[in-house]
């Protein structure tokens, strides 16, 4: 499925107005600028590890914008940073994870969002269960869950999708096929040319979309959310995109893929494509872009400053939230750790 051609030509009905598309454009710029900033901070030793979204912005933003944050839930994997912000997570809470302020990073009360997941695929059954809970309680709403084509090889994917089919859960599964799981190319991940087709095996709909086409992603996601809310069950959307960046800041993709492949992919950049369309609509210009970029930088600065103003967690933090109430021995350990005040962390 494609709605915006490589050159920005609209191939069907636009699923959003110009204003919303401008907003999407700003979010994609914010996403890319976040990547750049955190890679820089990582190189400076201020961030442990960071995985960029570069190249996948249309998949991430286009889908996230299809949710109603007051009604729907989002279950992220680990690379959909800005989607979490779209869903209502303040930018400074988003950044706090990378800057070591774990309590500030927590999802605030009222934001329908689960934390990031580092165990590939493990969030999928949670999303099914959450969607099931909505259904059992007759709550209107859908759950959108993100995962990669690598995650789609895990047993958790299969079990979560199959269960979702059986209970007709209001679930939207967004598979972001960025062609790589670390160094493993998609064709070594599965012999299936079409991962969306897996949905047939679970009794629901699967839609492959051009993941670099914000409109296609958004239209597919919006329809899937509507169907979920209407009680028509789950949908699997495969967003076909490309991870232009490295897997994360410890990775060097030159060890496993040719530059030419990346250059090719860069020509299908999702931001360029939307920019072309917006420009052709008279709704974007170099000047507007310059303003947007400046504003994004200011937002990032402010959010980082906000995080840096938060106290660094101390020893106490490792005992907090392990249990509602600490059992005897763990309480002893807490006291030992805290009273010794060996605050050995930086």
């Amino acid at each position: 499925m494609r709605l915006l051609d490589y050159d920005g030509t609209l191939l069907g009905a636009a699923p959003m107005g110009v204003e919303k598309a401008q907003q999407a454009m700003r979010l994609m710029l914010l996403s890319r600028a976040t990547d750049e900033r955190f890679i820089k901070l990582q190189r400076m030793g201020r961030v442990g590890i960071y995985g960029p979204v570069h190249g996948q912005e249309a998949s991430v933003i286009g889908s996230a914008m299809a949710l109603d944050p007051a009604r729907d839930w989002m279950v992220p994997a680990s690379r959909e940073h800005l989607a979490m912000h779209v869903q209502g997570l303040p930018l400074s809470s988003l950044y706090a994870t990378y800057l070591g302020r774990i309590d500030h990073a927590a999802v605030p009360e009222g934001v329908r969002l689960l934390p990031r997941q580092q165990a590939i695929g493990a969030q999928l059954p949670h999303a099914t269960g959450l969607a099931w809970a909505l259904k059992l309680q007759r709550l209107r709403g859908a759950v959108m869950v993100y995962f990669g084509e690598g995650a789609a090889s895990e047993g958790d994917f299969h079990e979560a999708a199959n269960l979702a089919g059986v209970i007709r859960a209001p679930l939207v599964m967004v598979l972001i096929n960025n062609q790589y799981a670390i160094s493993t190319p998609a064709h070594r991940q599965s012999a299936a040319p079409n991962l969306a087709a897996r949905a047939v095996g679970y009794g629901f709909r699967g839609i492959p979309v051009d993941g670099n086409d914000l409109f296609a992603v958004h239209a597919a996601a919006r329809e899937a959310v509507e169907r979920a809310v209407a009680g028509e069950g789950p949908t699997l959307i495969e967003c076909r995109t490309y991870r232009i960046g490295f897997h994360n800041t410890s990775d060097n993709p030159r060890e496993y893929r040719p530059d030419s492949e990346v250059e090719d992919a860069a020509e299908r950049d999702p931001i360029d494509r939307l920019r072309l369309w917006l420009t052709s609509e008279g709704a974007w210009s170099p000047k507007v872009e310059a303003e947007a970029v400046a504003q994004v930088a200011t937002e990032i600065d402010a959010a980082i400053a906000d995080v840096n103003a938060q106290p660094r967690p101390g020893a106490e933090a490792i005992f907090k939230h392990v249990y509602a109430e600490l059992p005897y021995r763990v309480e002893q350990q807490r006291r030992d750790t805290v009273t010794r005040k060996e605050d050995v962390c930086p």
Partner: protein, 324 residues
Amino acid sequence: MKQLSIIEAIRAALVEEMERDPSVMVLGMDVGRLGGVFRVTKGLAARFGEERVADTPLAEASIVGAALGLAIGGMKPVAEIQFLGFTQQAFHQIGPQLARYRFRSRGRYPTQVTIRAPYGGGVRTPEFHADAIESQFVQVPGIKIVAPAFPDDAKGLLLQAIRDPDPVLYLEPQRLYRAIRGPVHNGDPIPFGVSRMVRDGTDLILIAWSAAVHLCLEAAETLARTGASVAVLDLRTLNPLDVEGLVAAVRDCGKAVVVHEAPLTGGFGAEIVATLQQEAYGDLDAPILRVGSRDTPYPPGALEDHFLPTVARVVAAARATLEY
């Protein structure tokens, strides 16, 4: 007071909680119309509807993972895993996910999930159906582990498990399901972390949980015939562990033996010994021996008596300790 089997006591707790709290639900394989392979949930689907007593596909990881999602969404799921041995298929959803979700979300998403699973040997089951792997969960911070040995505890501890804000692994002694009946209070949840002296004695204490408690009671009876006064302590919960209760019990007797159905090496008995030799070193008059299953795979049913701890082996360990 009503005399119930353990199965009936568990069912009674489920019914009470489901009556009391509409967010309590049951899910698992065959738990609905059939009422589970042991009929523990028999009648529940008819009473509370198939939405609240839901059959799931044959996929353990998704049962646990979905239970976590259900809890995040406001339900209080009681998930049945058909046999504890099959929690291995769900292991990555239990330790790293369910048990850590409160921590990971910094308290935003407490996960009030109970996992029920029958376990333990003595009933000639096929492979995996008897595996006593509770100690693998003991090293999972964040999940509580409950292992009743009597109908009354089965009910009271399950009430607590369902109401407890933390996830709980509730282990059901398969061998005792229908084998014993006992009085069951119509009352309150039983708090976790409180062991129970089920037989008094002054020379030695046998420490156990779940079905092994009954083995210890038999052994104590045997030993009594030769004049030894042997106490039996039922831990009831492995996490939280009643360290004070253990220390006090050992202080009184000076000698102890730990008995469990899990293979000896790396069993929870090791933790009890390590804890006691640290916390009650001065009170110990002999090394604490452990009696467990053999360090082999669980054998086919016909051979399980060679594998499992027996009264004879408990008595032998107790005698060696008494004579130390």
